[in-house]
């Protein structure tokens, strides 16, 4: 039984080693080497690699600009809206407010601006996926 198995393994091994042996013999190795070199010369290897590096790099830079500008704009409009709302709430009767009430109004005006500033600083490009980066770029291009 074991002898049969060994014989069978040896046969399998021999067959596997024969597989493709003739194709390998027929292969003109020198011609293959020259053909490979010619193709490598025709399509310089650095071009692809450089493009592959440049593309994500520019994507990231462009996305960073969009995020900074976008978040800044949003923060400014939110700040402006809330300030206007707070001032409107206070209306013309600020004179009627007590010191404590005035402080509360001031805090309400200052707080959102602070929060938005922190949010903008926390934004990281690394948090964005490739599709998100692409979407940002597309939005830049209009």
């Amino acid at each position: 039984m074991n002898d049969d198995a060994t014989l069978h393994d040896a046969k399998l091994q021999e067959l596997a080693q024969r597989l493709g042996a003739q194709a390998a013999e027929r292969l003109d190795v020198e011609r293959t080497a020259q053909a490979v070199l010619a193709r490598l010369r025709a399509e310089p290897r650095t071009a692809g690699a450089r493009w592959a590096w440049i593309q994500p790099a520019w994507l990231r830079i462009a996305a960073a600009v969009v995020i900074v500008v976008g978040v800044g704009g949003v923060a400014r409009s939110v700040f402006r809206d809330r300030t206007a709302a707070a001032v409107a709430a206070a209306g013309t009767e600020l004179n009627d407010l007590s010191t404590e009430q005035l402080r509360a109004v001031l805090e309400a005006v200052e707080l959102p601006a602070t929060e938005e500033t922190i949010s903008a600083q926390d934004v990281s490009l690394d948090d964005l996926s490739a599709p998100q980066l692409r979407a940002l770029l597309q939005s830049l291009e209009g």
């Binding site: 393994d9 399998l12 597989l19 493709g20 003739q22 003109d28 070199l37 692809g48």
Partner: protein
């Protein structure tokens, strides 16, 4: 005039040739092709490449390998890494030519040495093995060929195929078990 023979220069390692090619030395790339092209051709046939396409597929594999050399970290032998790229090249070629029928190798292209009857029997068994390999899952097929046809170690095979040596061993045993059924 000195009659002393020049000392034999040891052949550069694959790693040295790779470094030389990355530094722009074209003959280093050509030497890598000369060194590994035949083993690659055998492997490509083993994973199902039509023999008529072997020349093109060998070239394509080397082109892909040279372009991807930046990702090769020496985790396995260069040859093992190259052969696994060859496996991908054949898979892609199959996908492109899915509708194309594979023409069986004509008898006159088979070895003419030895007893004709023995040759015919061996050729038939070889055909059964090729058919059996085609039916195996890709991982089993590649592990089997890398181990049996190329004589590579499980550690090296596992590193090239992104698996563990233990898993590579299991794939090998499954492959052998199934191939024995086809070949007997």
């Amino acid at each position: 005039m000195s009659s002393a023979e020049p000392a034999a220069v040891p052949a550069p390692t694959d790693a040295a040739l790779i470094a030389a090619w990355q530094g722009g030395d074209e003959p280093a790339a050509a030497e890598l092709v000369r060194r590994h092209a035949r083993a690659l051709a055998r492997f490509l046939v083993g994973v199902g490449a039509p023999e008529a396409d072997v020349d093109d597929l060998v070239q394509e594999t080397f082109i892909r390998a040279f372009r991807a050399l930046g990702t090769f970290r020496g985790q396995c032998l260069f040859r093992t890494w190259l052969l696994t790229i060859g496996g991908n090249v054949v898979k892609d070629a199959h996908r492109r030519n899915r509708r194309r029928r594979v023409v069986p190798l004509p008898d006159d292209l088979r070895s003419s040495a030895g007893d004709p009857h023995e040759e015919a029997v061996a050729g038939e068994a070889e055909g059964r093995l090729a058919a059996g390999l085609e039916r195996l899952p890709r991982m089993q097929r590649e592990v089997f060929l890398l181990r049996v046809q190329q004589g590579l170690e499980y550690d090296d095979i596992a590193a090239a195929l992104g698996t563990t040596p233990g898993a590579a061993r299991v794939h090998y045993h499954h492959a052998v078990k199934r191939l024995k059924e086809y070949v007997k």
